[in-house]
């Protein structure tokens, strides 16, 4: 199929655009700059052949339903087909009149090719081309993968296979490894299986467990019975041991009691009462005697007491006087100091009177002014003093203001002319950039000079040296791509050389080995060869013929010939024997020799190739030097020159940059120059003379000083005038203040005499004198109060002392006239002492009388007790049938004895009952009747031992029982076997899942390998044949053809054959050669297609190619285009130019 015409009726930005593709042209180049619709045209071909997709992006101009793309197609069978395509769900293929076509004529033509397959197999982009080249490298020459790489889909299949293999490897492998998922799950499965086995509780296990429980229970019951029996026996004997002595003691007590049978029955309490009465009677008698003696002694003591009743009667008055005595003594002690204070206060008042010019204190007190008069006088004095102070201040201020005003006046007189600096300032500001520009100019100049020096140095350092930078710039140097091409050629030659050397070395080593082998084989013994056998056979034939000829001859001749035949036969037999025996060795020798021959030949070939390579090297060197002829330089190696070229490029670049910078500098200098005149004129106006030779920024600085000075003069004049105004204002204010204060002082002088007279001061006194008088008056009230208080207190104290002494004298006269001679206070003390003595005697008598009364009462009570006891004792004697007054004590002792025995009997019975385990006395005696008392203790010991043993057995069996029950219960509950089974099922399910996933991946990977291998088998021969031819064109004879070698695993590998028959593996090809190889393989594969041929569409395919390679690729595409259609879309005009320059290529260029 060839597209002869593409109609872009309504598609993308196109409307009724028609592209004619001339049938005879082997290659169409559709040239369109970006945005010209190249992508639209490419997609239009896809949409035409395979229909618009679900979504289109080419409906931005035309509505979706009106989109149309059409074509006239020339088919392989010679017919043509005109169709149009619309966007829609079905019946989208139309005839030339826009009518839907009943059948889809394209379906048959396209077969299995999908839109994706079309663009990936029949279309190619520069990027896909580079990817293809890389895929070839990855295939490492292996033929199947290399051929697969030529198809886009098969190369994807190769990658899928690699990935699936890796995934499968992670899931499973024949060797068990934890890292593989399969084995991790398998481990879980095994674990669950083990747990399930352990968790299952079989019925037998449960039966055994139940049996163990039953056995333990039986044993427990038996031991319990034995334990009970032992317990009973032991209890009987222990009881016997306990109660035996008690029973004996009880019996003894009862025997003793029987001897008291003759005594009358007397209650224990009665007996106790009698004994108590006997004791009371004797105690009361003794006590009565003691009381009587004490009463007599008390009466004597009372009689001996001495007391004065009269004094006792006056006791109250005496006490009262003693209390007053303290107050009197204190007043007498206080009086002198009070009198002193009275005198001091009087003196002070006298002194104050004198300070005011009065005769004494009394006079002072009569003239004391009121508080109001004092306050009025004080206020007036303060106001007058204040007014006088302010007047003095006002006068001083006025004087200073007068002086200031005069000074400022003089300053103002001195001021010169005043000029506004603002216009000058504005003119000066116009030159604000000058200093910065001047500095920059200087700095840049320095920097450029330095850079230029470095550039020269770098140029000097270049090896080979090619002159100063300027000379360098003029030099005709080869460009980087030419150097790179040369470098690649040299690299390739060097690599080939190294490879050849390695091969020759390997060959030589093989040769040595085989020669050694051949030598050792031939030395191992006589060896017959097939040639020798053949020679022997020829000899026999000759002998045979000779015999035949001699048959008719004489016998001697016959015999000779016959013997000769015999010898020949023996010879053959010997040779055959040798051959048979040494056949293997012979074969080996033969093979070794053949191999030596072959290797020698191969070595020679290689050496010849080496020579050719050397010639090629010389040629390359020649052209390398020729490349540099115009520059006149002697080049070093291409690697070195690549670096050199880069260095030169760097130097030239820096030189260009320096030139640009210099231009900018000149502009700046000119700008500064232009400003100089302006500055000079401004200087003249400012009265400054500028130095024409000085740098401009210095002049600028000078003018700035002038402008600043002008500004300072202007500011100073303004300040002076303002200060003068202020001084005059101050002068006026001070004069006004002085007048006001003087008026106020006049007013105060009028009220002055009256106010001062009120405080006893003369009207002519100054404020200071008046203030002094005020100070004196302020001290008077304090001394006046002290004087009055002390006077009053002294009088009262003297009156009290006199009254006390009068009262004491009256008492002495009445109560103790004998003391009248004593001073009243001593007499009072003596009376007080006598009173104290009488009071003590009175208290003692009262105490003695009270004791006498108490004893009387006690004696009466004792007599009563004694009488009651006597009566009870008389009754006891009657009860005991004794005579009156007969002694009672012996009878009472006997009765007590009997009572004690009875009590002991009761205690012994109780004691027995407490230890008899509830048995009564009779039962105890009964159960002990058969026991051997002496053996009891040992019996108990024996039984206790048995019991301990049984108890230990019982504990043991109980423990066993509990364990057995626990085990049984645990078995009944189970060990979650169902859970373990579930886990196992889970692991099994997962295991099958992993296995399934692995199988699918492993199978798919194997299938991919098989498919790739089938592809190779199917296409190898025709594909390689055609690709060889295309590759030769693509490399412009660099490679003659493609061939197949076999690697060490005997797998076929692809190699390129050079013109000189050297074989270059794919890995040994340059990247560009590999790209060309990929393109050749791809185009050959497309040609191989049996179905309707489809056009090949390249999309900017050669974008990364240099001109030479582009040219060869175009020739390759044109070669393809002779049998199929080839269309190349590009936006590189040079591609079109190169195509146009190809002589005889007949390529059409269509501009979009």
């Amino acid at each position: 199929m060839r597209i002869e015409r593409l109609d872009l009726a309504r598609y993308g930005a196109f409307t009724d655009r028609r592209i004619e593709l001339r049938p005879g042209a082997p290659l169409h180049i559709v040239l369109g700059p970006n945005e010209a619709g190249k992508t639209s045209a490419l997609n239009a071909i896809g949409d035409l052949l395979f229909g618009f997709g679900h979504i289109t992006k080419f409906d931005f101009l035309h509505e979706q339903k009106s989109l149309r793309v059409g074509a006239r197609l020339a088919l392989a069978d010679g017919s043509t087909l005109s169709i149009r395509r619309r966007k829609g769900a079905k019946n989208t293929l139309l005839d030339a009149d826009d009518k839907p076509l009943a059948d889809d004529p394209l379906a048959l033509l396209l077969g299995s090719v999908t839109r994706d397959a079309f663009f990936s197999e029949f279309g190619l982009t520069a990027e896909a081309l580079r990817d293809g080249g890389r895929d070839l490298l990855k295939a490492d020459g292996r033929l199947a993968e290399t051929l697969a790489a030529s198809s886009a889909q098969l190369s994807i299949l190769t990658r899928i296979r690699t990935r699936l293999e890796a995934e499968a490897e992670a899931l499973f492998g024949a060797r068990r490894a934890e890292s593989k998922e399969f084995y991790a799950v398998l481990k879980r499965h095994e674990e669950a299986q083990r747990r399930l086995r352990e968790a299952i509780v079989p019925a037998e296990a449960l039966r055994d467990a139940e049996q163990a429980v039953a056995e333990a229970k039986d044993r427990h019951a038996a031991l319990t019975r034995e334990h009970d029996r032992l317990g009973r026996d032991l209890a009987l004997r222990q009881r016997a041991l306990r109660t035996r002595p008690k029973l004996a003691r009880l019996q003894a007590l009862r025997d003793e009691l029987a001897q008291c049978a003759g005594l009358p029955a007397v209650e224990a309490s009665t007996l106790k009462n009698w004994e108590s009465a006997l004791a009371q009677e004797s105690r009361a008698e003794a006590e009565l005697l003691k009381q009587e003696a004490e009463t007599a002694a008390g009466a004597e003591a009372i009689a001996a007491l001495n007391l004065d009743q009269a004094l006792l009667d006056d006791a109250k008055q005496i006490e009262a006087l003693r209390e007053q005595l303290g107050g009197v003594r204190a007043a007498e002690k206080d009086l002198p100091s009070r009198r002193t204070r009275l005198r001091v206060a009087g003196d002070a008042l006298d002194a104050l009177a004198r300070r005011l010019g009065l005769e004494d204190g009394q006079r002072l007190l009569t003239r004391e002014p009121t508080d109001a008069a004092l306050a009025r006088a004080e206020a007036l004095i303060d106001r007058r003093a204040e007014a006088e102070r302010r007047l003095a201040e006002a006068k001083e201020t006025l004087r200073a203001a007068d002086a200031e005003s005069a000074r400022r006046e003089a300053d103002a007189q001195k001021l010169g002319s005043r000029v506004d600096p603002e216009p000058m300032r504005r003119r000066f500001d116009l030159f604000a950039d000058v200093p910065a520009d001047a500095v920059q100019l200087r700095r840049e100049r320095l920097a450029q000079d330095r850079a230029r020096a470095r550039l020269d140095e770098d140029a000097q350092r270049l090896d080979p040296f090619a002159g100063a930078p300027d000379a360098l710039a003029r030099l005709a140097l080869p460009d980087a791509s030419q150097i790179e091409a040369a470098r690649q050629n040299f690299d390739a030659l060097e690599a080939a050389g190294k490879q050849a050397e390695a091969e020759i070395k390997a060959l030589e080593s093989d040769l040595d080995a085989f020669e050694a082998k051949a030598a050792s084989l031939s030395q191992a013994g006589v060896v017959a060869t097939r040639q020798e056998l053949a020679a022997a056979r020829v000899a026999r034939e000759a002998a045979y013929r000779a015999l035949g000829a001699a048959l008719d001859g004489d016998a001697a001749a016959r015999n000779d010939t016959f013997y000769a035949l015999g010898f020949a036969n023996r010879d053959i037999d010997a040779t055959t024997d040798l051959l048979l025996t040494g056949a293997e060795r012979a074969a080996l020798l033969e093979a070794a020799r053949e191999r030596v021959t072959a290797l020698t030949r191969k070595k020679k070939e290689l050496e010849a190739l080496g020579d050719a390579r050397f010639a090629r090297w010389r040629a390359e060197e020649e052209s390398w030097r020729a490349l540099w002829t115009r520059s006149g330089l002697a080049p070093m190696s291409p690697q070195r020159m690549t670096v050199w070229r880069k260095d030169v490029e760097g130097i030239l670049q820096r030189r260009r940059e320096l030139d640009d910078a210099q231009l900018e500098l000149a502009t700046l200098a000119r700008k500064l120059d232009e400003q100089r005149d302006g500055l000079v004129r401004l200087g003249a106006d400012l009265g400054e003379t500028l130095d024409a030779a000085a740098p401009l920024d210095i002049s600028h600085k000078q003018l700035r000083g002038a402008v600043d000075r002008l500004q300072a003069q202007w500011s100073e004049a303004h300040t002076t005038l303002a200060l003068l105004d202020k001084a005059k204002e101050t002068q006026r204010a001070a004069a006004r203040d002085r007048g006001e204060i003087e008026a106020e002082l006049t007013q105060l002088a009028a009220a002055w005499p009256a106010a001062l007279a009120a405080i006893g001061v003369d009207g002519a006194a100054t404020p200071a004198e008046a203030k002094a008088a005020l100070a004196v008056w302020s001290k008077v009230p304090e001394h006046r109060a002290t004087f009055a208080e002390e006077e009053h207190r002294i009088e009262a104290m003297c009156a009290n002392i006199a009254a006390f002494e009068t009262e004491v004298a009256a008492l002495v006269r009445a109560a103790a006239p004998n003391l009248a001679e004593l001073p009243p206070r001593d007499a009072l003390d003596a009376i007080s002492a006598a009173l104290k003595q009488s009071q003590a005697a009175q208290a003692k008598r009262a105490t003695l009388l009270e004791a006498q009364q108490r004893r009387e009462a006690t004696r009466a009570k004792l007599a009563q007790t004694r009488d009651a006891a006597t009566r009870m004792l008389d009754a006891a004697r009657a009860a005991l049938a004794l005579e009156a007054a007969a002694p009672l004590e012996p009878v009472l002792a006997r009765l007590n004895e009997r009572l004690d025995l009875e009590r002991k009997c009761v205690e012994a019975e109780r004691d027995l009952a407490e230890t008899a385990d509830g048995h009564d006395e009779e039962t105890l005696r009964g159960e002990q009747s058969g026991l051997d008392a002496d053996a009891l203790a040992s019996e108990v010991e024996r039984l206790q031992m048995s019991q301990r043993q049984v108890f230990a057995d019982l504990s043991e069996v109980l423990k066993r029982l509990h364990e057995a029950e626990q085990k049984r219960d645990a078995l009944t509950q189970g060990h979650d076997a169902a859970g373990a089974a579930s886990d196992k099922a889970e692991a099994a399910s997962e295991l099958l899942d992993v296995a399934g996933r692995w199988l699918q991946r492993a199978a798919a990977a194997k299938l991919a390998a098989r498919a790739i291998e089938r592809h190779r088998a199917a296409v190898q021969d025709p594909l390689l044949a055609r690709a060889s031819a295309l590759f030769a064109i693509a490399t412009d004879g660099g490679f003659r053809e493609l061939g197949v070698d076999y690697d060490k695993d005997d797998a076929p590998t692809l190699v390129g054959l050079r013109e000189n028959a050297s074989r270059v593996p794919v890995a040994g090809m340059s990247e560009g050669a590999r790209d060309q190889l990929f393109l050749s393989l791809r185009l050959a594969l497309l040609e191989l297609r049996k179905a309707e041929p489809l056009p090949f569409v390249g999309d900017d395919l050669l974008a990364s190619f240099d001109d030479a390679r582009t040219k060869r690729a175009l020739e390759l595409l044109a070669e393809f285009g002779r049998s199929r259609q080839a269309i190349l879309f590009t936006h590189h005009r040079h591609v079109a130019d190169i195509a146009m320059g190809l002589v005889g290529a007949n390529i059409d260029v269509i501009e979009l």
Binding site: S151, S155, H975, R1001
Partner: protein
């Protein structure tokens, strides 16, 4: 007189459920203990329904299950009924015969087992109910197994308990074979059958009923599982209603993707079906298998991306409910028929044809057999032979699908 009884069968207590392939322990836990929970539900339901008695028509245990604690679990469960005053009548099935651990369990007195030698009868005087049944005494019983069942007791409500596959048409091996007609001849009012795991009311005159098993154990036992609640009034069955007792549920949805344009549409359909099934499970944990079928151009892509889609579907499942587990996604779609090559000759560029041809070779079949052998050798014995399916077709579809998939190769 009116009374209710519960008819259950095929408890298969502690028979493990099939693997879920689920890594969520909580979901697995709920499934692992679902069988016992269902039995507990049966007991609770019987007590709550105030049932007069419980019938169990065989296969209480799994024959090869040896853990005796399973038996004690049942004994404890039936003891609860005993305490509630409810009698239990049991015939043993083919699995029970095999079960060594089930022999001589200490059942409470209210649990009656029918003997194996010939049919026996129990009577409940107060309800005037006669029960006739016979336990399996051997793994297999002959066609005459039914012959010893006695004639109906006139004037009483007669129930026959029988573990049978009937005519064997219900996907189960022919155990105790007989036909519905054979059963009718006895004149009983209700035949309480067991053995078939799918619930079914086979006939209503008389009532011949399979209650199904009480807990689905794998993806072939889908939908609600439980027992039959039967109400009898004046000697006639007036209602027989299935009651769901299962504690976890299985479901299998088949989704026709013929009309789906892409995977997302297929997944959307699957999600709708998932939600539907989730609603039906009434709060039970649900294990669901989804199978895509139908002829679609997506076929090979679906095969290639099955695992990814399965993961997506599982995520969708968890989005619907935290205990909805997608057990597996199966792809049973097929590719639509392909137009034959125009020249009848394989195209060098037709990679799919190349793959298909390579897959069809006997050498590839041998390679596959080798792969299967390689992994089966490492699998536990009981899982060998489980790896089935048309592996060649899978490999072919996988490769073609990978070729179509976006980002292919890398």
């Amino acid at each position: 007189m009116r009374f209710t009884f519960i008819h259950a069968a095929d408890l298969h207590i502690d028979s493990p459920l099939a693997g879920l392939g689920c890594k969520d322990a909580s979901v697995r836990e709920r499934f692992a203990h679902a069988g016992r929970k269902a039995v507990e539900n049966l007991i609770d339901e019987t007590i709550e329904a105030k049932a007069a008695f419980l019938l169990v028509s065989g296969d209480i245990f799994d024959g090869d299950w040896k853990d005796v604690s399973t038996g004690f679990f049942l004994v404890r469960a039936l003891a609860k009924l005993d305490r509630a005053g409810i009698q239990t009548f049991v015939v043993k099935g083919n699995h029970d015969f095999d079960s060594a651990m089930a022999k001589a369990l200490p059942y409470p007195g209210s649990v009656k087992f029918f003997g194996p030698r010939k049919a026996e009868s129990f009577e409940i005087e107060s309800l005037r109910v006669a029960l006739h049944g016979r336990s399996f005494g051997a793994r297999l019983v002959g066609a005459d197994f039914l012959a010893s069942y006695p004639a109906r007791r006139e004037g009483w409500f007669n129930i026959g308990l029988l573990h049978t596959a009937l005519d064997g048409t219900r996907g189960h091996a022919s155990y105790a074979p007989c036909g519905v007609e054979d059963l009718k001849r006895f004149g009983y009012d209700y035949w309480a059958l067991g053995h078939v795991h799918e619930a079914e009311i086979v006939a209503r005159d008389p009532w011949v009923v399979y209650p199904g098993n009480i807990q689905g154990r794998h993806v072939r036992e889908t939908g609600p599982k439980g027992a039959m609640r039967v109400t009898v009034e004046d000697g006639r069955v007036v209602a027989a209603r299935p009651i769901a007792l299962d504690a976890a549920r299985w479901a299998h949805v088949r989704i026709d993707v013929t009309h789906c344009e892409d995977e997302q549409q297929a997944l959307a359909e699957a999600e709708a079906r998932l939600r539907d099934e989730q609603g039906r499970a009434e709060g039970r944990p649900l294990a669901l298998r989804a199978t895509l079928h139908g002829a679609t151009p997506l076929h090979s892509k679906l095969v290639a991306r099955r695992e990814i889609l399965e993961e997506e579907l599982r995520a969708i499942g968890f989005r619907c409910a935290d205990d909805l587990w997608v057990e597996a996604l199966k792809i049973e779609t097929e590719a639509p028929p392909r137009a034959p090559a125009p020249l009848g000759e394989a195209d060098a560029l037709d990679v799919e044809a190349l793959i298909a041809a390579a897959a069809a070779t006997p050498e590839f079949a041998q390679t596959l057999a080798g792969l299967v052998g390689e992994i089966e050798e490492k699998l536990p014995r009981e899982l060998r032979g489980e790896l089935g399916g048309d592996l060649a077709a899978q490999a072919r579809d996988r490769l073609c699908g990978e070729l179509l998939a976006p980002g292919r190769g890398a």
